[in-house]
């Protein structure tokens, strides 16, 4: 590794000429290889958010119940009874394309660490996935690997996987999206932060040994895939969920004591980012002695150790008088524990290896002079209005096609491979309700969890699409009866150096912000993944939203499955919006028009009404209306439950297919014992509502009189994944 450090090498490491010039100014000399490595990862898109930071700052992040917003390892919200929910979503897109199983597995491992590093016991995992065209063999291989990887890791660490979402679109052919979310619970007075403090305090390394895994993963995640990405492949990281499980238990055991001053997981750019960020946040210096780092391979250089992305490792600043006790805990769990340095008052990071100072960098400039770009952007042009579209097939045939299409087909093949019950607190498993419901052990209280985004809307209108993603997450939580509290976001976009892509990003952020404000649903954590494109072909802009809500009593939660003998009531107004609808794509073969407008005031109004009805016990089942529209929503309630339904014709002023398949927002279907009471309450509140029909024993009977057997619907709905994968 006797490489000469110069601008060419800096470029290879992903630093621009200007950025390298800045490095030279800060250092006042040519940096060493290790120093250049540290700058390049800290200033990578992944760690510095240099293209997105100016936009992220505009997101609403506060509310009375927000304890820690963005800036910590994960967001923290007050969920009552002295408890906090800690959660975040993070992408592992590029690694999952290179090696789907390990990429997805280590993605789950990484986000778990972001959550338990703050003192929370992880209680639920979710994942938002986007894959390419199902007709391609490579898509099948990636789906299979990603699903196995998520299950392989999550099942083994014993955190239930309770929800998520999957879309297919050819734009993800060479660039699948794997976004993993973890939710944990901690006592509000036992939350651990990452700011280092206490000059002289030991810096402790715990977990797995360091190997040459994923060196330059952070810069890798910040570059688009080209033909040469094969060669650029960093050593793939292999996940070790067993060690992660031990790490969770050991960390939580240590966290029950008063030994920890600060703690942070070693995520992207491992030892570099954790040590730099901890010292930087605490305004102290840090000195590391790499000889003490537990190593898996012989002959590792300082550069390799500082940049390694070996998994299942944490960095802890420990009270000196508690060091022996801390060591005993990690040894009990058969984990490495090594004092690899101490805090200083120099404000610098100094890295020694074999008696040589391999790096000596001032921390403030490294952070403060990190690049920050106001990338040029152009507004996404508005789509032309759709105009009238005739119905080529009729309601029944369209319904059958839609519920069988990849984007609406039952995902049970996927969630059947995820342990969703471990922990014994899963009140509503995948498929049972719009948001998963996980109870808090020993309490009545429960969380409602969901992930949402409709990328085709975001492509057609980033602002409306961004708002819709937040609104749908809020609606899914509301549909269970829970009160939505906050979101985490995972901004997956293509190359930000292209103004039209940056325009998508800007538009989505505006839409997300507006929805967060209107719905009192702030952003408390998130992640940005850029350069998601292959050979110049961008992915659909995909700002995945992970939402969290709370229910005071888990018994109040409603699911979406129908039982017979209830009235079906639609809440929300229906104009019959077919632009960008799945009906338009799957039945009419067109991907056109503007997406449905998002009326945030109506969202709030309708949602608050629905939640009120649920919490006062008037609702037996509830489902929000989204992809596929109203008839798909009813069919999903039928398939999830033990009843059929008889539907009445819609209003005369909306054509039948637009009424039943339009994707107008802010709507819910409620199953209630007494429609009259609910309609009266709605009228009183000024919320649009109408009776749709009733649930019955037997078939789903459409307003045109066609009867569809529930068993046949289920078969059609289940076919796609099982026929494809088994």
């Amino acid at each position: 590794m006797a490489k000469e450090v110069n601008q060419a090498l800096a470029r290879e490491f992903g630093l621009s000429a200007d950025e390298y010039a800045n490095v030279l100014t800060i250092m006042g000399r040519t940096p060493s290889l290790t120093e250049l490595g540290i700058f390049s990862v800290m200033w990578s898109e992944h760690c510095s958010y240099k293209s997105s930071r100016v936009w992220l700052k505009t997101l609403p992040t506060t509310a009375p119940w927000v304890i820690h917003g963005p800036g910590e390892n994960a967001g923290v919200v007050d969920i009552g009874e002295g408890l906090a929910a800690i959660f975040k979503m993070e992408s592992h897109n590029h690694p999952s394309f290179i090696e789907p199983y390990q990429g997805a597995a280590t993605g789950v491992g990484g986000i778990l660490r972001d959550v338990f590093t703050m003192g929370a016991r992880p209680i639920a995992n979710l994942n938002a996935l986007r894959f390419g065209d199902p007709k391609l063999a490579v898509t099948k291989r990636i789906v299979d690997g990603v699903v196995r990887g998520i299950g392989g890791y999550g099942n083994c660490v014993g955190v239930p996987t309770v929800g998520g979402e999957i879309n297919f679109h050819p734009s993800y052919n060479g660039n699948p999206l794997v976004n993993a979310m973890t939710v944990g619970i901690a006592d509000q007075d036992k939350i651990f932060l990452s700011a280092a403090a206490g000059v002289g305090n030991p810096v402790v390394y715990v977990g797995s040994k360091t190997g040459r895994d994923g060196i330059h993963g952070a810069t890798m995640a910040s570059a688009e895939f080209g033909k040469d990405s094969e060669e650029k492949r960093p050593t793939v990281q292999v996940g070790d969920p067993f060690t992660e499980k031990l790490l969770i238990e050991a960390c939580l055991e240590l966290m029950a004591t008063d030994a920890i001053v600060a703690i942070q997981d070693m995520g992207a750019a491992g030892l570099t980012s954790s040590s730099v960020e901890m010292a930087g946040k605490g305004g102290v210096g840090i000195e590391l002695d790499l000889d003490a780092v537990p190593q898996r391979e012989a002959g590792m250089t300082a550069y390799e150790m500082m940049l390694s992305e070996s998994q299942e490792r944490m960095l802890i600043i420990v009270r000196p008088d508690r060091q022996d006790m801390a060591r005993a805990i990690f040894e009990k769990w058969d984990l490495d524990f090594a004092v690899i340095g101490h805090l200083t008052e120099t404000g610098r990071i100094v890295v020694r290896h074999k008696g040589v100072v391999e790096a000596d960098i001032p921390l403030d400039p490294l952070a403060e002079q990190a690049p920050l770009y106001h990338r040029p952007w152009v507004e996404t042009p508005k789509r032309a209005a759709l105009g009238a579209v005739a119905d080529p097939v009729g309601l029944g045939a369209a319904l059958e096609t839609l519920i069988a299409c990849p984007d609406l087909a039952s995902r049970s093949w996927v969630w059947d491979q995820y342990d969703s019950t471990v922990g014994g607190q899963t009140v509503k498993r995948p498929g049972a309700s719009d948001a998963a419901i996980v109870k808090i052990e020993g309490r009545r209280r429960a969380l409602a969890l969901t992930t949402d985004c409709t990328p085709r809307y975001v492509l057609a209108d980033p602002e409306a699409g961004g708002a819709q993603a937040v609104a749908e997450a809020w609606r899914n939580i509301t549909a269970t009866g829970a009160r939505p509290l906050a979101i985490t976001d995972n901004m997956n976009f293509a190359n930000p150096e292209k103004p039209e892509i940056m325009g998508q990003f800007a538009g989505a952020v505006r839409g997300i912000s507006a929805a967060c404000v209107a719905l009192d649903f702030p952003v408390v954590s998130g992640n940005v993944s850029l350069y998601n494109e292959t050979e110049g072909r961008p992915i659909l802009p995909t700002p995945a939203i992970g939402g969290l809500g709370v229910l005071e009593d888990a018994a109040q939660a409603v699911g979406l499955g129908l039982t017979p003998g209830l009235d079906l009531v639609l809440v929300g107004a229906t104009e019959g919006w077919l632009g960008q609808s799945l009906w338009l794509r799957e039945i009419a073969g067109r991907e056109e028009g503007p997406p449905p407008p998002v009326d945030l005031a109506a969202e709030r109004f309708n949602g608050d009404f629905v939640r009120g009805q649920i919490l006062s016990g008037h609702v037996r089942a509830c489902h929000d209306v989204s992809d596929g529209g109203l008839l798909v929503a009813v069919a999903e309630m039928v398939m999830a439950g033990g009843a059929g339904a008889r539907l009445l014709p819609g209003p005369a002023e909306v054509t039948a297919h637009a009424f039943w398949f339009g994707e107008d927002q802010a709507r819910y279907v409620l199953a209630v014992p007494d429609a009259a009471a609910v309609l009266q309450a709605a009228a009183f509140a000024g919320v649009p509502a109408m009776r749709l029909g009733e649930s019955v024993v037997g078939d789903l009977t459409l307003p045109d009189g066609a009867a569809m057997s529930v068993a046949a619907l289920r078969t059609a709905n289940e076919r796609f994944f099982r026929a494809w994968m088994d």
Partner: protein, 79 residues
Amino acid sequence: MKAVVTVMLKAGVLDPQGKAIGQALQGLGFEGLGEVRAGKVIELEIAGSDKPTVQAQAEEMARKLLANMVIESFKVEVA
């Protein structure tokens, strides 16, 4: 003929299985144990009597399916 394909993780790639097995063996009191690595073996009955041809076939199967060349390497023995 019988081809035996042995698939091991490439050097440098973390081998959690090998690590855990090594620790368990030590726990059982076995001494003098160095590195432990875990891999897969796949035995294939392949029609044919020409050893080089069968060898080549098995190697192609390994490359195409049996080994994940991103993290694994393989060797083929034909008996």
